[in-house]
Amino acid sequence: MIVLGAVTLAALVLSLLADRRKTLAGVRKGVGMFVSILPALVGVLAGVSLLLAAVTPEMLRDLLGGSGPLPFVVALLVGSVALMPGFIAYPLAGVLRANGASDPVLAAFITTLMMVGVVTLPVEARFLGWRAALYRNGLAFAGAVVVALGMAAVLG
């Protein structure tokens, strides 16, 4: 995050030195995109907060900690719907593992969490279009299954 800020600042200063008018046009464009997408994004994130608050870490622990195919399926579904910053998701994954969740289950959870965003679909569709957004999420879900099965094969 600090790196991103530093890179942006450096790019901005260099750009200003090279061409002020061009820089202004670029920044205006970036800010315009940001402002146009912000309301939809805030709505989605508030909705996710309402949804996620209903699921406690204890519930996830019980659902994902068991054996058999059920924790695997739950991990894929919960991961697809949920949306979490990495600094929340990884500590949670550590807790889940300590409570008996297997590595393939954790891989299914993390991969769908990062790649599949059912609730952010409206935001994604505004950028990529509905068709590409739906295809991308569907294929990413399939990819997460492949990765998790691979984890099971490699790590046992």
Binding site: L4, K22, I37, A46, G129, R136, G150
Partner: protein, 174 residues
């Protein structure tokens, strides 16, 4: 549904929990909202300014040559490298993906970029190694990379040849 409805509901529940001091669901809603607010504020403004600058400075020919038709494995290498060096939530990568797409990056490379962004970011991997160990991280990464490169190409084939991202993504005009 208007986007401010869930926000208003979430804020009301959070305020209620703060006032009553014993409403756990509301407290968790507030905590979640706070985390998302921090994440958004840390990544999005910088990301959108970079996308804006990219748009005015980088010539279309440059992107077409390195990430466009015929860029092959080198193109894949560049988008994966670009994605792994970034940080932030996937929704922060969508504006970058669209900017690349409009400048002549192939759809396959756009989706490989999104795949690598979500699964192989280096800042995120350090977190992963810390909490789940290097073995987990290494195997997951080694499995994810080929899977998401393959999916990128598959996705390009599934979309119509003339498919383009909607112009609404571009803020004002193009």
């Amino acid at each position: 549904m208007a986007p401010w409805v869930p926000l208003a509901v979430a804020l009301a529940l959070w305020l209620w929990s703060a006032a009553s001091g014993s409403f756990d669901y509301g407290r968790r809603v507030g905590a979640g909202l706070g985390e998302f607010a921090i994440e958004m504020a840390s990544f999005l403004p910088a990301m959108f300014i970079l996308v804006g600058l990219f748009d005015v400075w980088v010539p279309r020919a440059t992107i077409e040559r390195h990430l466009g038709r015929g860029s092959g494995a080198t193109g894949v290498f560049w988008v994966v490298l670009l994605a792994t060096l970034q940080a932030g939530p996937l929704y922060a990568a969508f504006p970058v993906a669209v900017a690349l797409w409009r400048k002549g990056c192939t759809p396959a490379n756009v989706f490989v970029y999104l795949g690598a962004f979500s699964a192989l970011k280096v800042p995120m991997l350090t977190f992963e190694v810390g909490f789940l160990g290097w073995q987990f991280s290494l195997v997951r990464t080694a499995l994810s990379l080929p899977v998401f490169v393959a999916l990128g190409y598959l996705l390009e084939r599934l979309l119509p040849a003339a498919y383009e991202p909607p112009s609404t993504a571009n803020g004002k005009g193009s």
